[in-house]
């Protein structure tokens, strides 16, 4: 099939295989770093570490990002000491950073897998091998040029790390805005952590409400004619549903009864005609 767009054909970024390989590489890096941190984790026993490592590896290969997050959260919940020292806090921050990078890359990898149909590493290796054995000259030369410059992977790593850092900075700022304060909590009859939960929860709820209302208003103004028509009809039907249903059912019943009567009359007439002829 000839490609109509010559530029797209020669661009290696259009090769989904290339994208997946990058995602796999990034995920592997994140997993390795996370495991190295975990293996040197001082507050978890060795047996637990081994189980955790096995679970993370399995999660990376088979499961979704949510399972991975649940595992790491469980690990932190069980292993992280309350009010940790500054060295331990730094370790936790690094762990969080790597976890987010891992979840991001795994999510992206799963999306690419769903779209392109290559599910497992074995399929990826097979398709890579196939592309190596049957190379497309244009695509191959472009791949080589890009790989030699190292632009694609480097840019992807940089973008992901920057995004995670910005998000962590925002989360840290939110935590710093509401530090532990024992005085106010006592006045309200709450413990300090509970008060903090409520404060941060309120901030997040406000954020959610803003996200719900503003784009909702924006979306309402951008409804198509058909969407607006259906919305108005559905509102009216919702208000008058009982009455309308009653009317419609009554008419249907009457129609069925009339049809039944007509059939009976026709049968009677036919019987009468038969008797007359016999």
């Amino acid at each position: 099939m000839p490609q109509t767009d010559g530029n797209q054909a020669s661009d290696p970024r259009h090769d989904p295989l290339m994208l997946r390989k990058q995602q796999y590489a990034l995920t592997m890096i994140a997993v390795a770093a996370l495991l190295m941190i975990q293996l040197q984790n001082p507050w978890i026993p060795t047996a637990m570490r081994v189980i955790f490592v096995a679970a993370v590896l399995l999660g990376f290969l088979r499961w979704s990002a949510a399972i991975l997050l649940a595992l790491i959260q469980l690990d932190l919940l069980l292993g992280e000491p309350p009010r940790a020292e500054s060295a331990q806090q730094v370790l936790c921050m690094v762990t969080s950073f790597l976890t987010i990078v891992l979840i991001m890359t795994v999510s992206r990898l799963r999306s690419a897998q769903e779209l392109t149909g290559v599910r497992t590493i074995r399929q990826l290796l097979r398709s890579t091998l196939f592309s190596l054995l049957n190379p497309d000259p244009d695509l191959q030369s472009a791949h080589d040029a890009r790989n030699s410059q190292g632009l694609v992977s480097g840019a992807a790593v940089f973008r992901t790390c920057t995004k995670v850092l910005i998000l962590m900075l925002a989360a840290g700022t939110l935590l710093l805005l509401f530090p532990e304060d024992t005085g106010s909590g006592r006045q309200l009859g709450l413990t300090s952590p509970a008060l903090r939960v409520i404060q941060i929860g309120l901030v997040l709820f406000t954020l959610y409400f803003a996200c719900l209302v503003l784009p909702g208003e924006f979306r309402w103004r951008r409804l198509t004619r058909h969407q607006a028509g259906i919305y108005l009809r559905s509102l009216y039907v919702g208000w008058a549903h009982r009455d309308l249903r009653m009317i419609v059912r009554h008419r249907l019943r009457r129609r069925r009864r009339n049809a039944r009567l007509r059939r009976r009359d026709a049968r009677k007439n036919a019987d009468a005609t038969l008797k007359e002829t016999s």
């Binding site: 099939m1 949510a66 999306s111 969407q227 259906i230 919305y231 559905s234 039907v237 249903r245 419609v248």
Partner: protein, 566 residues
Amino acid sequence: MTPRSVFLLVLGIAGAALGLLRNQSGLVLLSLTVILWIVAEWARFQWRVNTELASLTVRRTMNDKGDSTGVVFSGSPLRIAVKVACSRGQVRPFTRIRDVVPEILQVEQGSSVRLVTVADQLILFDYVCRPLAAGTATFPGCRVRIQDPYGFFIADRFVVQRQTLRILPEHEVSGNAHSQIKRINALPQHGIHQLQRAGLGSELLEIRQYVPGDPPKSIAWKVSARRDQLMTREYESDVPIRTVIFVEETRRVQRGPWGQRQCDLSARVAAGISQAALAAGDLAGLVLFSESATRGIIPGWGDRTLYHILERLADTCTMNAGPRGRWTPQLQAALLTVCQERWPELLSVQVNRVPLTVFPLLPWKHRARIVRSRLAGIVCQLHGLKASDWVRLVHDDEFMRQHAIHLLSEAGCPATPPLLDESAAAEVPIDPRSLTQLAVGIRQSFGRARDNERFIIVADLLHADESLDAIRPAVQLALARHHRVVFVCPLLNPAAAKHSGDDASRLTKLLREAWSADRENRQADLRRRVRTMGATIAFTAAGHPISLVLAQLQRKRRGRAIAGVH
């Protein structure tokens, strides 16, 4: 929101709450970061939906022509190029564009789906497809699905770009219709044929005894001298021939998969015969008969007539709405599929709200009622019905069915009976009412005919049996008036495609053999019945060259009996 993002959000909220309560800063940081990440992705996705998706335009060219309508012949390749442009911003990665291809077309090369992996203002892709049968193909537009790179949010839209394609039946272009061997002294004028009846032609028919009144010019002097009595030459007639083709257009012939229906085969045969007749300079006409009426095209010459005939044949192959019936779960599923495909934004819960009801109590019935209510909303909007009709559509099966069938037809997916096995389609006998209408059509045709007409009846009459007697008087009357009647029986070939594999069971083979034997018997019986009428019959199957039928017709033009057919 996809389940993935919901799970992550729930885990983030739970982790943040537990971490705050237990003073675990690492857990809190991780969980809050996850929540903020999802919020940021959501905002970004909304921006994409409102800018990129709203400004997408699609332009499609069919065989390098971008017109809203077009004509193509069945079986010929159709090259389709799709250009998706974004006027505001770019088409981002993880966008999936699918050009919705009608069922009547089969994609042979390339793909009608394009996955965007790099942001671009213009996305181009093309593919080659082939029409499977004659009829009408409507390209409604492109379905666009965008999602964020992490698979948290998905939005579907349908970008309308409606183009209609008229698919005419394929026909073999016959070469020289006349014989290459010189059998006659003078070639007749184009469109004029010798008829073996006394006339004023140039070919000698016979020499007979002179009768007073014969022109002196035609006296054969040498023969008269030898026999010692006046003999005169009689010549053949030179006449134009009018070919009228009768084709059945009932729902019976529309059953089966695209391209393997009886109407497809009939259209192909009729198109081939028309083309050959017109190429030979004959007049060609068409009569379509069904259970209730006959309609047709008056015989004419030239490409214009051929085009009219092909168009009318394409109409017979176009699926029409089914007979009256009930509202079934299958029909609801078909309507839901089409609505999900074409109007995904109208199925949105935020727009298409369902009134709160308790009944029906059973969960699956309740779910089906909710789906029906949503579909009723879409039907109501698209057909411009009142709000009270929405409730009627939910409760009145017949009303809903009518509108559903109408909507499906408009969307280019007419509600058809379940696709049958070819043998099943072949074994539905012709309706006696159709044969009555055929007889009426034949009578009407020879009522306005001249001397030398040729009636070609293209219909599967294998299972007609005694009901064939309905056309006997009409056929015999036509023959008595010196017209010719030829039956062409198109036969579907069911067993070849489905049961020819090595894994065919013994029972299947036996059934196949029994079916073949039964068909042969029926063919012999039909041949006998047609012979008793005095007409001719030819059988043709899918893949058989139309030239076999044309050869028979060529011989029939000369008015001689065909050996082995009568």
